[in-house]
Amino acid sequence: MSKLRDSVVSTCEKKFLLNLLKESKRLDGRAFNEFRDLKIEFGKDWGSCFVSLGETQVLAQVSCEIQLPKSTRPSEGILYINLELNPIAAPQFEAGRQSDLSVQLNRILEKCIKDSRAVDLESLCIKVKEKVWALRVDLNVLNHEGNILDCASVAALAALKHFRRPDVTCDGENIIIHTYAQRDTIPTVIHHYPVCISYAIYSNGEIILADPSLLEENVSEAQLMLGLNAYKELCGFYLGGSASVSADVILKVTNRAAKRALTVIDQLKEAVEQDDLKRQQNEEIGFQHSHSFSKDLSQNGNKLADILNAWRTVPTKKKKTEVKPEIVEQAKVEPIGKGNQSAVLLPPETENSPWNVSSDESEETENSTTNKTTNQNNKQEIMEVSSGSDSEEDQVIVLNAKNKMKKTKTKTKK
């Protein structure tokens, strides 16, 4: 019954996005070369790491086991990287089936991390030709909002850096694996950190967006994915799509990506160090103690009010008389919810808002000198009113009503 569905991008979304890009704007308000917020958190276990890039989320877990080495490389450990796209990330992904996208992403990640020899595999050897450690990095995409690759590459590297394997001793024939409690654990040796940086290309290389979101990714003509380490060394390069991009454009983008790679790697190292410090000081660790989730909610709570404010200020300057009655009306509307919801309707307390008496006056004084005297009268009245009544809300409404009346009066005078 269930068929493989591709996500369809509607023409209106496409048009809207391309129009915005022509005006050099992006949907989420970022600059063309701006990346989304990168957050790195660690779980209680070694090698468990959660990375979010904006809304895109990837969970990485490193595990290890002892295996027979490959016959071609008998003294080297083995590194597996496995990225899975589950239906939890996006509805069009299917569980347990490799899609083109997942094969492509896996291949790029492997090229970037394995083929650039970022992890020292020789140190994973226990006994030549017989026993080596095999590290396995499992990456699960929890939410797909574009640019899985950047997020996954950071998650894989952070998890590998964070991971510690148990110590092993060998007494002649037998190999003993010591538990974490018995002996100190051994960190993975990582030579360099090749992180992936993605770009979306539009109109034959004229517009290049860093860290494309899901819609931007779907609409783009071509995708450029670069693997770079802190030493500006190119570890992976993938250009897909159909745009004809000139070489200097790519070179320019690569230089920009190198700068970004440096900041990402610094952040990655710092996050691991912070976690180490926490563990040493016996502080609480693990996902349940990371605060990003609760922070997110409170930030978003204020966002709506901000948008409504910013937006309202534009028309208030143009048509003052029109806005006044509007606001009075708005005050009559009863907020139906409790707590946060009421904040939607409460008067914004910014300088530009017409509720703020002082700013209102200053605007009016700019307009005409004749208004000044009436305004002063107005002020006195305000004082009286505020001393009389108890509740704040009432005051404001009365004020505005009077203001309004005053305004209409001044109008008739003119």
Partner: protein, 222 residues
């Protein structure tokens, strides 16, 4: 496990004695009748248990998928065109089908010119878990009644189902507040897809931003 109204509930938990009006209890999404106890209810979806006096119960939760429900008005994207049939992506497990004749005034010769990627506002006439959902763009008098293809100038958003329900409430002030500052057109689909079109792209953008921000703003009200 016994739960109360306002609790976070998980599938399998039960509400033993729901309040009924003359023995009738109205169940919304996420609830079904308990198998062991004929009076009780069993939760079938994770979320917050909500109650509206006197006898309405439902579970509100965060879901990215849409489960089609007969009679819902939805916004969908044309995914495929085959003969007189359109396949519409409405965010459900399967694409919904829409006949080219179920538009106002459509005949064999005069069919709506829909392309892949166009957005339509339609009504679900069949929604069964074993069958493909079916859409129409006419009401029962064969009139369009605001249904049909939407303009290509606007923008399509995906919103949380909880906000959708609230926006459809006439008493919800957000749309009215937004309307005071600029004119815009909006089509709200129960499937979480919302089509917004303002006079300029800036207006569209602002309405879209406000709606997206409002998602995180709404508290669950019981």
């Amino acid at each position: 496990m016994v739960v109360n109204v306002g609790d976070v509930v998980l599938p399998g938990e039960c509400l033993p004695e729901p309040r009924s009006n003359k023995g009738v209890v109205i169940l919304g999404p996420g609830l079904r009748r308990s198998e062991d106890d004929s009076k009780g209810l069993t939760v079938s979806r994770a979320g917050v248990l909500c109650h509206k006096a006197p006898n309405m119960y439902w579970v509100e939760g965060h879901a990215k998928r849409y489960v089609p429900c007969k009679g819902d008005l939805v916004v969908g994207v044309v995914a495929k065109k085959s003969g007189d049939q359109f396949k519409i992506d409405i965010g459900s497990a399967e694409h919904a089908s829409l006949s080219a004749f179920s538009f106002e005034g459509a005949t064999k010769k005069q069919k709506p010119d829909l392309q892949v990627g166009d957005v339509v506002y339609a009504k679900l006439v069949t929604a069964h878990r074993e069958m493909e959902p079916e859409l129409v763009c006419v009401n029962k008098y064969f009139k369009a009644a605001n249904l049909g293809p939407l303009s290509n100038q606007g923008f399509l958003l995906n919103l949380d189902s909880r906000l959708i329900v609230r926006l459809l409430d006439v008493q919800h002030p957000l749309l009215a507040v937004l309307a005071k500052t600029c004119a815009y057109e909006i089509a709200i689909g129960m499937n979480g897809k919302v089509f917004v079109m303002g006079r300029t792209s800036k207006d569209t953008m602002h309405v879209a931003e406000a709606l997206l921000a409002a998602q995180h703003h709404d508290n669950v009200t019981t």
